[in-house]
């Protein structure tokens, strides 16, 4: 599906509703590819897998536990690649890795509990736990991460020695400070400093003390601190040496951790791939529930949809208080023509088909009651105004260029054509429209052609539908009064039957939409005149 087709089908809005929980799931979504012909088995297996998940998710507690795990999984992919390349992750990255393993462990347990062993096998639960133990030498595992003493006996010893040094310095300073306070009557602040008014007698006392040195002055105050004694300096130097050694040992601990994880990297990348795939399926599951979707069945024949809904259009209508009319449709290779009055839902029907087919190809359950289809090589639409201003082409020119390309594509795909030939004069437009339909009728595409040209109905070998249309001839005055003109239209698709004709209700619709009455009446007069002329010609 190209960008133009996607835009016409409101595919970006549909796709935006597909939201994996994890950052790696979001990344995988960006490069997700549709299933293509030749992958029918994998496609059905993926759908079956999704169906199993949907059934399992009916247990609310289980579902909540799974979602909680997914929500908490951090993005460790860059960390795993750094580990793989021999780098040592930073301290907070080890925490992320532990968080990931912690929640992966819970996720894996959830799946094993439900017998969903296709995602992760029971043995892997133990392997994840073993990885967690590498990051937590304490007897009871927890989600937090610290460079625990248990990582290295030297670390524990060094930290004890550092603490002893700190205690010595603290107690020594405390004793010295008390002595100074007793001698001067001045007490320390929270920083262990003595702040005095420089004009006060205390300032004289403090300045006379050899144990003190001024650290800063203002015009009003002098701030003193205790000079470190030789004993204190020794302890501080010792403390500094210990600090340095602690840093070395901590770095060594992290380096050893990195080395110990290196052999686990392939396994962890497998788990990551598995949980990524699961996250995508879980996001599909949530959409399926939102849309009350059905599993697409494989068909080697036509595309069959029953009760299909365009999810975005349906949501918009719902916001406005309207209901989407579900679509029943069958499209075989060749061409399917759709006719009906303006605003009767032809284009929406075509978009609904397009979205359903696209969703099925991306492994989703389809917003429909029933869906069967073959895998189709491509999907392309020519819907709406295809004018390519950049290429200097008119609407018609752009349409013909695009259509020319599409008709030549092989193998055939699903073509959604909205009123071929509408951009040129009616006679030539009708001729082109019929010719294209005739070409498609015996081709290998699954083509759907929405048209207003009655010449198209004369093409041999077409199948088709008409939208049911107005429930009664539109009476603009009634409709405008109710302001609910949608209620007067039946949007269902009815199979085309012999004798069905292109509806002529354009003037009624124009009146309904607010066209000046004089203009509409003039148009109606011209129509009558045209018909008389054609009758005269036929009568000659």
């Amino acid at each position: 599906m190209d960008e133009k087709t996607g835009q016409a089908l409101s595919w970006p809005e549909v796709w935006a509703r597909f939201q994996p929980f994890t950052p790696f799931g979001q990344r995988a979504k960006r490069s997700l590819a549709p299933f293509v012909p030749g992958q029918e088995v994998a496609w059905q297996e993926s759908l079956q897998e999704l169906e199993r998940l949907i059934n399992a998710a009916r247990h609310p507690d289980w579902r909540e536990a799974v979602e909680a795990c997914l929500r908490h999984l951090p993005d460790v992919e860059p960390i795993l690649h750094r580990l793989e390349s021999g780098e040592v992750p930073g301290f907070s990255e080890w925490f992320q890795l532990k968080q990931w393993l912690w929640h992966m462990h819970r996720w894996a347990q959830c799946l094993i509990r439900q017998g969903l062993n296709e995602w992760i096998c029971p043995g892997d639960v133990n392997r994840i736990e073993a990885c967690l133990h590498k990051l937590d030498p304490r007897p009871h595992l927890g989600p937090a991460f610290r460079l625990d003493d248990g990582f290295d006996p030297e670390l524990a010893d060094l930290r004890r020695r550092r603490e002893a040094c700190e205690r010595n310095i603290r107690e020594y300073r405390e004793a010295l400070a008390r002595e100074i306070e007793q001698l001067t009557g001045v007490r320390r602040n929270r920083e262990g400093e003595w702040v005095v008014d420089r004009r006060s007698p205390e300032a004289t006392k403090l300045s006379a003390m050899n144990a003190l040195a001024p650290v800063r002055e203002t015009p009003f105050d002098v701030v003193y601190h205790a000079k470190p004694t030789l004993q204190e300096q020794e302890w501080m130097a010792k403390q500094e040496r210990i600090e340095e050694r602690i840093k070395e040992v901590e770095a060594a601990v992290l380096a050893r951790l990195a080395a110990s994880f290196r052999s686990d990297i392939p396994l962890m990348l497998d788990w990551l791939a598995s949980v990524t795939r699961f996250d995508l399926q879980w996001a599909r599951l949530r959409l399926s529930e939102r849309w009350n979707g059905c599993r697409p069945r494989r068909s080697d024949g036509p595309i069959r949809l029953k009760g299909a809904v365009h999810p975005v259009v349906a949501e918009r209508l719902d916001e406005q208080g309207y209901t989407f009319t579900p679509l029943d449709l069958e499209v075989e290779r060749g061409v399917t023509v759709v006719i009906g009055p303006n605003m009767g839902g032809k284009t929406v029907a075509m978009k609904t088909l397009g979205v359903a087919v696209a969703l099925a190809h991306y492994g989703f359950f389809v917003p429909a009651q029933y869906c069967e289809l073959p895998l189709i090589p491509f999907l392309a639409g020519m819907i709406g105004d295809g004018q390519d201003a950049g290429a200097g082409l008119s609407t018609f020119g752009a349409e013909m260029a695009r259509l020319g390309e599409l008709l030549q594509r092989h193998p055939g795909g699903l073509l959604l054509l909205d009123e071929v030939g509408r951009g040129t004069n009616p006679a030539e437009g009708a001729a082109l429209s019929a010719a294209v339909t005739a070409h498609l009728a015996c081709g290998e595409h699954w083509a759907v052609h929405v048209t207003h040209h009655h010449e198209v109905l004369e093409v041999a070998g077409i199948r088709g539908y008409r939208t049911a249309g107005w429930k009664r001839p539109p009476d603009a005055s009634v409709l405008l009064r109710t302001e609910n003109w949608r209620e007067w239209i039946d949007y269902r698709l009815m199979p085309l039957e012999p004798g069905d004709e292109i509806p002529c209700q354009a003037t009624a619709v124009a009146r309904l939409m607010g066209m000046p009455e004089a203009v509409v009446r003039d148009a109606e007069r011209r129509l009558v005149s045209q018909r008389k002329k054609s009758t005269r010609v036929i009568g000659k």
Binding site: S92, N189, W194, D221
Partner: protein, 345 residues
């Protein structure tokens, strides 16, 4: 002691706000942390804005580090914790991002120093405060960025310490005047009338202007007073309004435009952090009979004074404290550098 006063008042989240750059906010924060160490009460720390960097964002001067005892909780970026990883236990990640990266909740395992990465949004601050509460942290100190009073919003924190310093002005008189203005604005009365309360609650909920006229609550046909001034001025003179609830902030310009109408009414605001009008303008508003009321009050726990400016000048600390005390009424004034001398051992 400042911390024990905060605890006595049952406050579990306290904003430290400065009225200018280099007023000594970090010194006050460190003093509170030091008190938490001596009282054995662990605190949580988070910063709103850009504080926690090595240098002040405005002046470029080196900033004092935030020193924490063991058992202190912090919310900061992973890159800030990586600097001394062995001193921390990382407990959880928070769904909050800062300029320095994702925010983590961590607890210090020993006395150490930390940079606090600024949490840029009020929602982020709320999330972290909730998480700290969940972990049983009894008090969280929120370090506010320069001139950002938002952290003191009663919708975020339960109380605030206002830090004022010599760097706010060249003369003590100028500094004291600024303190008086701020405290006067912060301590304007709260809404008591039920109808007015309803008006401001509705205005905030619906982000719309609400008025009270003849004892009835009425919504105004424009969502803010940023629309054509003549239109809303004409509307406000069209009937006897007694109160007007603003969903946003009150500025000097807006107050002056209200003054042009010449009809006194009560302006209702969410809280003092939404009042950006200056005291002289507010005084003029009161002089014509107008009033300003808040739905939520800010509990100013203390005003902390710092008589020393990093520019190289200082005020007499005794005089500064006395003068500030004179203008702030019953709010305690502290000098965390000097006061401790007589209170701590």
């Amino acid at each position: 002691m400042l911390l024990s006063r905060v605890q006595r008042e049952g406050i579990d989240s306290l904003a430290i706000i400065g009225l200018a750059k280099n007023v000594g906010k970090t010194t006050v924060l460190n003093a509170l942390i030091a008190e938490s160490r001596s009282s054995g009460v662990p605190v949580g720390l988070l910063s709103i804005g850009v504080d926690g960097e090595e240098r002040d964002a405005w002046s470029g001067r080196p900033k004092p580090p935030i020193r924490v005892p063991g058992g202190t909780w912090v919310a900061t970026a992973g890159t800030c914790l990586d600097l001394s990883g062995g001193d921390w236990e990382v407990i959880a990640s928070a769904p909050v991002h800062s300029l320095l990266g994702d925010i983590y909740l961590a607890r210090s395992t020993r006395p150490t120093q930390v940079k606090l990465a600024g949490v840029p949004s009020a929602e982020g601050v709320r999330t972290i405060l909730r998480r700290f509460q969940d972990y049983g942290v009894p008090l969280t100190l929120v370090d506010g960025a320069y001139d950002r009073k938002a952290s003191a919003s009663p919708l975020l924190t339960q109380g605030a310490v206002l830090v004022v310093g010599a760097s706010m002005g060249r003369t003590l008189q100028a500094v004291v005047k600024k303190v008086e203005e701020t405290v006067s604005i912060f301590t304007l009365p709260v809404v008591e009338n039920g109808l007015e309360r309803n008006a401001v609650e509705t205005a905030l909920r619906e982000r719309a202007l609400m008025g009270v006229s003849n004892g009835e609550l009425r919504s105004l046909p424009f969502s803010s007073l940023l629309v054509d001034r003549q239109v809303w001025q004409a509307y406000l003179t069209s009937e006897e309004w007694s109160a007007l609830a603003l969903p946003g902030a009150l500025t000097d310009r807006l107050t002056q435009q209200m003054l042009e109408i010449g009809r006194p009414l009560t302006l209702l605001l969410s809280d003092p952090t939404r009042c950006f009008a200056t005291l002289p303008t507010i005084r003029r508003w009161y002089r014509i009979g107008g009033q300003i009321r808040y739905l939520h009050a800010v509990r100013l726990v203390a005003v902390a004074v710092n008589p020393v400016s990093p520019e190289g000048f200082s005020f007499d600390p005794v005089e500064m404290k006395k003068k500030v005390q004179e203008v702030v009424g019953g709010i305690p004034v502290v000098n965390v550098v000097r006061d401790a001398m007589s209170n701590e051992t």
